[in-house]
Amino acid sequence: MLGSSVDAVHAAVAPKPKAFASGASLVWRRQRILWWIFAVNLILAFLGAVGVAHGIADDAGVRLNHSLEARRLVHGFDVSAMAELGALPEDPLRGSSRMFLWPSFLFTVFMLFMTGGILASYYDELQLDAAAFFEACGRYFGRFVRLLVYFAIVLTPLAILASAAGRLYEHVDDRSVSPYAGPLFLAAIAVLTLGLLLCVRLWFDMAEVLAVVGDNRSMHRMLRRSAALLWHNFGSLFWVYFRISVIGWALFGAGLYVWMMVLRPESTTGAFFIAQLMILVWLGTRLWQRASETDWYRQYRVGQYAQLPMPTPNATPAATSEPAGTPEQ
């Protein structure tokens, strides 16, 4: 196999894949995935909220549904009413905060399980049926758990660096007469950390794509190849990834604005729909990233094959010059 050396050679000559729009199109065409993920997230959060609902609606100390004081919560976001609710010994909110954790944990495991199927579905020209989808989920689950361990290992030095930078920020802020120096430094650290995090995520995302495309079992090899791929195509890949992130945050912010500023405070149904739309968009942009990465790689491979010399009857078999990400034998 030529692996990354072929990537390097062809990166310069192959046309750059354009996966931004095609990724969105893929998410749309495979929208059933999005709806399923959305539904599972909603159900888990809803189950987590059952205890809270019981606490605030029926608890003897609060009985929110029968209290005229609850109007303070209906007609606007009353900070004091929320604080009072939180300060009550009956503690309907705080006591249920543990319910916050397990839905998040279960959803993370669920997404780890789903990733193989999602990527396979996005890479495949034809929509996978349920059996093939879940077969892919199961096949890659163990590998992606290993990848998650690698991810944690990679993040550790990043966290140490961020912590050191935080201490440096305190030093800069302490020493500087200007009140802006510290926050500017902090903003720079935040941007840098966020940028690094995005790069690391992109690196691991591409490793997952390579693993699924080539049905590879060796995750550390996938990480090496993904790193090489990213190294030679960083601009193209990161630009797609970054743009989608920005769109995700912008839409989320717009949703918050509508919720807080446009919607009537009394509108519980409207608030529910806006909130769920925001979550749907948030999940959708993440899938958009995954779809774009997958499609980027498909276009990239096609470009590479197009650059290879046409085989002649006496030529060496093409398999020996297969680009990165082809199935290993």
């Binding site: 909220a49 919560l73 009072e84 909110l93 807080m260």
Partner: protein
């Protein structure tokens, strides 16, 4: 009587809001340029108007301090000498005198630090690791008494509160000869301060200095004994009135603000300058210095004359200056109108720089420290509420000089009540703390909420250092006092309450009243016996909490089939006194035909049940429908609607579910 004092040498970079002051200064500035000042150097000419007659002091002047201090910025030290002329008005000979050395609180084994480690204090949680740069100290190197010689060797540290021998915040000296009643004694002391990096109201940050509680200060003879407590994590201060003449030698580049009138300023060839300040009818003196201040000057005219406003703004915070000024003038006006005249000719407001917010939110006579940031949103009224609160202390602590060690509620609590009233008048009842399109909060609610957190551990009247913890001290001393006074106001009427506050101020300004004096004033003004209320709200820890335990209707002829008609109904409303605080309450019961009735219950028993037999069914029952009893701990159980409305529950659940979903999605990003 008007006073005009010329001063030179104080370099200032000023923004003058008052045209009159600007003209005055321009006229005088020509003769008062400072030696090293080049760019924006300009001298201020102090134009002050004494609001009161100097012929008759406002206070009984027990002490006269003369201090000469030199700031050594490189070492963050202050070297000083102090002469204290103490007038023995105790009515008996005095031989032993205790003194505070507050800065020694910032030592590892002090009582203050032990308490910080136990339960935290302003901005520092329990177990806070204090870096050595936050340690500070004060050392008296010489102690002489006129006519009795050098008594340095006779100084001994005492610990009247906890016998912690490592605590050096109070010392006493027994003189060889007693000072007869009515006579004066003059103490001469040399002392040296090591300033901590800003902590607990005082210290330095870079080249900013906020110097408070920095000199040896004599205790107060009160209730027939010396009152000179150690410095604790939750306590503030207590001192006698008198005069201060203070000479400060600081770098020429520094802008200096102080709790006194600037009398003279003299530049020296070594790059320093000496500023002389004078203050009278006050019980403390503090000052600040920084080369980076921008001085904003303004003035306000009240019933006692003109008050100069000096606002020392730190870099980056200038956008808060108009907010500080509006709050200061508004507060001055309302205090003048509601409580009494502000008799001093100046108020200095110090805006601490970034990293020094621990020096903010503090009061000293005629000098207060505020607090803001360069990014402070307009809807977050931190600069306003801090100025309003700290200025209020000019009345409750500054003039009505209660004992902050023993009855902190009388200054912090009463001041918090006034803060609520003034903030509401200036910024709206429901928007005086937060005013964003999506969230609002009034100061009254904020005070009440702070009390709800930990309402029943301590009475208001507990000595400040004996509270359960810092949170209880804050919630009860500030929040509960404000809330109980707001409830009292609803009981006796706003006019009577205002009249009582005015009367209390006028009776007790420039004295050291107690909680009983406050109660007596209220009773005198209202003509009511209020002890039953104070016994529970101030001296006790009972919780005030009433609830509608039940409200429902039942057909009288319940045994008949529905088709036969079920009217009339027998309706029941049960009111339960959940807490031990007994308070008379009104209960409004509404029926589904639109009629309603109001019951009055004295609240003495544990519960009461009202029964009605009529054609209509009970719809709602509500305790204290006008929400007069803000001391009630739980408003949610004060009412019961027979037909539920689940919108609030849905709203909360929606937020909960959304937050949970979003956090899940964020965490799943790692996969």
């Amino acid at each position: 009587m008007a006073r005009r004092r010329a001063a030179n040498g104080q370099k200032v970079r000023t923004i003058r809001n008052s045209l009159a002051l600007a003209l005055t200064s321009a006229v005088l500035a020509g003769s008062s340029f400072a030696g090293r000042g080049v760019n924006s150097s300009q001298a201020t000419a102090k134009s002050t108007t004494a609001a009161v007659s100097l012929a008759k002091p406002l206070s009984t002047r027990v002490v006269a301090y003369q201090i000469e201090a030199t700031l050594i910025p490189r070492e963050h030290r202050i070297k000083a000498s102090e002469t204290l002329d103490y007038k023995n008005l105790t009515g008996r000979p005095q031989q032993t005198f205790p003194f505070h050395l507050y800065l020694n609180a910032f030592q590892p084994q002090s009582t203050f630090m032990t308490e910080v480690r136990l339960y935290g204090t302003r901005g520092n949680g329990p177990g806070t690791p204090w870096a050595p740069r936050h340690f500070g100290s004060i050392t008296v190197t010489k102690f002489e008494v006129e006519g009795q010689g050098d008594l340095t060797g006779k100084m001994e540290f005492i610990q009247p509160d906890d016998h912690n021998r490592e605590d050096h915040t109070v010392f006493q000296v027994t003189l060889p000869k007693p000072i007869p009643a009515g006579a004066s004694v003059v103490f001469h002391m040399d002392f040296e301060d090591v300033m901590p990096e800003v902590v607990e109201r005082t210290g330095y940050t870079r080249d900013f200095y906020m110097v408070g509680q920095w000199f040896p200060k004599v205790g107060v003879w009160w209730k027939n004994q010396w009152n000179c407590h150690q410095f604790h994590a939750t306590t503030e201060f207590f001192a006698d009135f008198g005069t201060f003449d203070v000479k400060l030698t600081v770098p020429q580049d520094d802008f200096v603000g102080a709790g006194g009138d600037l009398i003279t300023s003299q530049n020296h060839s070594d790059g320093t300058k000496t500023l002389t300040f004078h203050s009278e009818d006050v019980h403390d003196f503090s000052w600040t210095a920084s080369p980076h201040y921008t001085l904003v000057e303004d003035s306000w005219n009240g019933s006692a004359g003109r008050v100069a406003i000096h606002l020392f703004m730190s870099p980056g915070n200038m956008s808060s200056a108009p907010r500080y000024l509006r709050a200061t003038k508004g507060t001055l006006s309302l205090y003048d109108q509601w409580v009494g005249p502000y008799p001093y000719d100046r108020i200095t407001i110090v805006d601490p720089p970034h990293g020094a917010l621990d020096a903010g939110g503090m009061e000293y006579p005629t000098l207060i420290t505020a607090g803001t940031t360069w990014w402070m949103p307009k809807g977050l009224r931190v600069p306003e509420v801090v100025v309003c609160h700290e200025f209020g202390h000019q009345y409750w602590y500054g003039m009505v000089a209660t004992n902050e060690f023993e009855e902190a509620w009388l200054d912090e609590g009463i001041n918090s009540y006034m803060e609520v009233k003034i903030m509401a008048a200036l910024y709206g009842r429901d928007t005086s703390m937060l005013d964003f399109p999506f969230a609002q909060e009034g100061d009254a609610e904020a005070q009440r909420t702070s009390y709800l957190e930990i309402p029943a551990y301590d009475p208001l009247t507990r000595f400040a250092w004996q509270f359960f913890d810092d949170e209880s001290y804050g919630g009860v001393t500030y929040g509960k006092t404000a809330t109980m006074l707001l409830t009292l106001e609803k009981m006796i009427g706003e006019d009577k309450m205002r009249q009582a506050m005015h009367e209390y101020f006028m009776r007790y300004r420039f004295t050291h009243p107690t909680g009983e004096d406050f109660l007596k004033t209220l009773e005198d003004v209202t003509g009511q016996d209020l002890r039953w209320y104070f016994d529970q709200a101030a001296y006790g820890t009972n919780i005030l909490d009433y609830e509608i335990a039940d409200a429902h209707s039942d057909p009288v002829r319940w045994y008949q089939p529905v088709s036969g008609g079920r009217k009339p109904y027998r309706s029941y409303v049960t009111v339960h006194r959940e807490g031990d605080f007994v308070f008379p309450v009104d209960v409004r019961v509404k029926f589904d035909d639109g009629s309603s009735t109001v019951e009055h219950w004295d609240g003495r028993d544990r519960w009461v049940r009202y029964t009605y037999e009529q054609g209509a069914q009970v719809e709602t029952a509500e305790i204290d429908p006008d929400q007069k009893i803000v001391l009630d701990r739980n408003f949610f159980n004060n009412s019961y609607a027979v037909h539920g409305d689940d919108r609030a529950t849905h709203k909360l659940l929606n937020i909960w579910v959304f937050a949970n979903e979003w956090i899940s999605a964020l965490i799943a990003w790692i996969t």
